[in-house]
Amino acid sequence: MLTRRHLGLAAAAVLLAGGGATAQTGPVIGQPAPDFSAQDADGRTRSLKQYRGKTVVLEWTNHDCPYVKKHYSGNMQALQREATKDGVVWLSIVSSAPGQQGHITGEQAKQLTASRKGSPTAVLLDPSGAVGRLYGAKTTPHMFVINAQGRLVYAGGIDDVPSNKVEDLERAKPLVKLALADVKAGRAVAVPASKPYGCAVKYKP
């Protein structure tokens, strides 16, 4: 039996043609959002699963990215404030690898939150990029909204005007804000996906 199995494997090795390569594939709108866990700024492990029953926002961020700065001119903080007041869990995730732009320690994360007057539920540190790759996070910012049932209901840009200019905020359709309003009202999210824009996530090369 063992030899037969080995024979089969040998044959598989001969006949296998380029199979098995894995690549990051993002989660699918309407499907369960993949679970993950990561350490927050205090070194505590947080997982997506623990927030089942609540709406969760994932925000990929890099404080040195011009697009992130545009939104931290007040827009992002306002969104975080409104969302968390509504009981939404807001997780800011930093997938910048050590030595890359935007990489921060837990202490720096706390300072940033304080200096920017942000109010995320937690800042999660993902220096290995595992969570970012799991979600196919491409840019900073790149936003995901997960409903109380753990399903992904929005993925994409924070709004629909891909620019780094603060003045463009006025004419942009605030897609994440609208998605959260739809979720709160129990409606299907009207625009469940958009093209994320911003700086590339600075993954470990």
Partner: protein, 768 residues
């Protein structure tokens, strides 16, 4: 006046540079123009200091030598054409990462004409600016023009971008130097002799690992001159080169379709048939259309090519709405604009597999030839071939003392095998070229061929049973099918061996066949020839080796027993073919086939009687009549036989395969096993009996939650053929196992064992 070198007011220029890197700040002001190269803002390179970057470091510079060069050109006579007109002059603006200016194609604008003014960006090495669709991140360069009354600017004529990987992402952009030409209409009432100022605010994002948004104000003073002006002495050639190299419209036509979780773009036109096809890459205008980081699959066709792309987020929420627009690049500067409607894909743009190295199987020619030969050798042992060949070999033993006769027979057999194989190959390649999705065993998808084969098997069986004899010298029972010493008989045996081999796929064959059908004709034929050589090799070897021949048992009465015995595998084969025919055409078709078989048997018996009778004529007439009737009956049966009547009886519950179902299951994150099979494929059926139908495997499927999809290729099916070709195959069986989250399936071996399947299932599913 001449070139206004020193006459120009050396005053101040407006500039505006944004450096969002240091927060969104904006600086605006009047600064004395500098003649020196600007300070390069080293602070920006040092991340910790970046916020302290001084805006003064990025002051724009007017480059006076532009005028000086114009003077030099005038001296050499190049400016003679526009005589007294002023030369176009632009200012070069340098940011720490980009040197930019407006570069016109002509030295002066003609009233009523069009000038092309390009934004020239010289980008710091290692840094990039972006195409109109920047890819996964980034932002395209933008120009906002301020033009004199009556002048108007068109859209940027974007050069073909580069693919720029950033970790797991891919951006589309430019490096080193790029010219972005913009057509500018000159009003008919522009006054010759006048110089106008064209101004543009250029916004771009320039990135290396980090990204810096920059904004500069650029101006170009352009003289107006009557009549066509000479090319701009400095930029004319480069701008025209950029325009000439821009993707060409109107050459390619395209159709796009979303199928099986993939976005397919079929492109027809001469360039898509050329050598560049191997480098084909589609840059879509719409950033939501495809996943930029995923490779694009290329399949060639007789009239074009088809690209298979992973859709972008847009496909998650709905269908693709046309038209699909973008640039199809063939590398080396060759690129075309594509505007594809959404519709059904033209067959002529696919079917010939991947360009170059033979599909994804990636076999080289030597390996493919080796595999084909080995596959041919193994075919000898397959149940459909073995009885025919073993009888022939046994008959050959009778010629052990006549080496010459034996050799002639060996060669005749070889010729028969090769002729038939090459004929089949040629038919297959012709079918492929005509846009059919054909593969190994394709002839078995035709019910008339199955019926014909079933009757042939019946005839062989009847012959082996001694009902009638073949061969020129009928010397009583014992010689049978093999005939006696007939080269023609040996040739026929060769033909027969290939005909009966078709339902069997030997190990190694599929990879070689998959390689062959996507190759140029000569290569494909040589692979088929290697398969034929493999099939013929044992027989030829025996016929050329008297020592071997002498070791074979001498023909004698025992052969009759063996012959009668071997008739039974052939009856079984005929019955099995009849079953396939029934699956293809339904029970009514089967009745017709049985009637034809009954007539064939009657004809065979009458013919056999004629061989023994003193008065053969009546028997022969009867035999011919019965045979004719059988053929006629078969014709009627086959013509009236639509596909259908297929019932599923597999022990293991399988869902029918569709690309959509597969995509949906994969999207749900479920592991999926796809069995590409056909009723006429013996190997497939054996695998299903031996491995897939066992209780152990059934339990493994249940335990691992792997969904079993069955792609049944018994009848022609272009969707399944396309899926096979996607994996570099031209025939069944093919077993794919998709793990959750994996991009590519694992391909299981062609001979399955219970253990191997269970192991693979377990490996495909992370223990939960």
């Amino acid at each position: 006046m001449g070139a206004p070198v020193r006459g120009r007011r050396p005053g101040v220029a407006d500039y505006e540079i944004r450096l969002a890197d240091s927060g969104i700040r904006r600086a605006r002001g009047k600064q004395p123009l500098l003649n020196e190269p600007v300070h390069q803002g080293p602070a920006l390179l040092n991340r910790s200091d970046r916020r302290e970057f001084r805006l003064s470091g990025a002051a724009p510079v007017r480059r006076l030598p532009v005028g000086l060069r114009a003077v030099a050109a005038a001296v050499t006579g190049a400016l003679a054409l526009f005589g007294g007109a002023a030369a176009a002059r632009a200012e070069i603006v340098r940011t720490p990462y980009v040197e930019a200016e407006l570069a016109p194609d002509v030295a002066a604008a003609a009233p009523g004409g069009t000038v092309h003014v390009a934004l020239r960006q010289k980008i710091k090495p290692g840094w990039h600016t972006y195409w109109r669709n920047p890819g996964d991140s980034g932002e395209p360069t933008r120009l906002a023009w301020t033009l004199p009354q009556g002048w108007s600017a068109g859209e940027i004529v974007w050069p073909t971008p580069e693919r720029q990987p950033v970790g797991p992402l891919v951006n589309y952009g430019y490096s080193n130097q790029v010219l972005l030409p913009v057509p500018i209409r000159v009003p008919a009432d522009a006054r010759p002799g006048q110089t106008v100022r064209l101004a543009a605010v250029a916004d771009w994002l320039v990135c290396e690992e980090i990204c810096i948004p920059e904004q500069v104000k650029l101006t170009l003073d352009l003289p107006v001159a009557a009549g066509p002006a000479a090319p701009h002495p400095q930029h004319g050639a480069a701008v025209r080169q950029a325009l000439a190299a821009a993707p060409k419209p109107g050459v390619l036509t395209g159709v796009a379709a979303l199928a099986g979780g993939r976005l397919k773009l079929a492109v027809l036109g001469a360039p898509a048939r050329g050598d560049g096809a191997a480098r084909a890459y589609f840059f879509p205008y719409d950033g939501a259309l495809i996943d930029h980081a995923k490779p694009q699959g290329i399949e060639r066709g007789p009239a074009g090519l088809t690209l298979t792309m992973v859709p972008g987020y847009g496909a998650q929420t709905g269908a693709v709405t046309g038209p699909v627009q973008g640039v199809l690049s063939f590398g080396e500067g060759e690129a075309y604009l594509v505007e594809a409607s959404v519709g059904s894909l033209p067959a002529q743009a696919a079917g010939l597999g991947a360009p170059g190295a033979g599909g994804r199987s990636g076999l080289g020619l030597p390996l493919a030839l080796g595999f084909a030969f080995l596959g041919g050798l193994i075919l000898n042992l397959m149940p459909c071939v073995f009885p025919v060949l073993s009888m022939k070999a046994a008959a050959l033993a009778g010629h052990a003392h006549e080496p010459r006769t034996a050799r002639v027979q060996g060669l005749a057999f070889l010729a028969g095998v090769l002729t038939t194989f090459l004929g089949l190959a040629a038919a297959l390649l012709v079918a492929r070229a005509a846009g059919e999705t054909a593969g190994w065993g394709f002839q078995l998808q035709s019910p008339p061929v199955i019926a014909g084969l079933a009757l042939l098997m019946l005839l062989i069986a009847l012959n082996l049973s001694g009902v009638f004899h073949l061969g020129e010298s009928v010397q009583g029972v014992g010689s049978g099918l093999s005939g006696r010493g007939g080269a023609a008989g040996a040739f026929f045996t060769g033909v027969l061996a290939v005909a009966v081999a078709a339902p069997c796929t030997a190990p190694f064959m599929a990879a070689a066949m998959g390689y062959a059908v996507v190759q140029p004709t000569a290569v494909a034929l040589s692979v088929f020839a290697a398969l034929g050589l493999g099939l013929a090799a044992p027989f030829v070897l025996v016929s050329f080796t008297p020592t071997l021949l002498r070791r074979l048992p001498r023909p004698g009465a025992w052969m009759e027993t063996l012959q009668r015995l071997l008739a039974f595998p052939m009856y079984a084969t005929a019955a099995w073919l009849a079953w396939i025919f029934a699956r293809q055409t339904g029970v009514a078709g089967l009745a017709e086939l049985f009637a034809a078989a009954w007539l064939v048997a009657l004809a065979a018996w009458l013919f056999g009687r004629s061989q023994h009778s003193g008065r053969p004529l009546p028997f022969r007439i009867g035999a011919s009549a019965a045979a004719l009737l059988a053929v006629a009956w078969l014709g009627v049966a086959a013509l009236g036989a639509p596909g259908g009547g297929k019932a599923e009886s597999a022990a293991l519950a399988a869902e029918a395969y569709t690309p959509e179902r597969l995509a949906a299951l994969r999207a749900e994150g479920r592991p999926v096993f796809v069995n590409f099979t056909a009723d006429w494929c013996v190997t497939c059926k054996v695998n299903e009996r031996v491995a897939l139908s066992s209780a152990e495997v059934g339990r493994a499927f249940e335990r691992t939650g792997v969904v079993y999809l069955k792609a049944d290729w018994t009848n022609r099916d272009p969707v399944i053929a396309a899926a096979l070709s996607e994996h570099g195959r031209a025939g069944v069986p093919l077993y794919l196992l998709y793990s959750p989250g994996a991009d590519q399936p694992r391909i299981l071996p062609q001979l399955l064992t219970t253990g191997a399947v269970i192991k693979a299932l377990e490996e495909a599913t992370p223990s939960t």
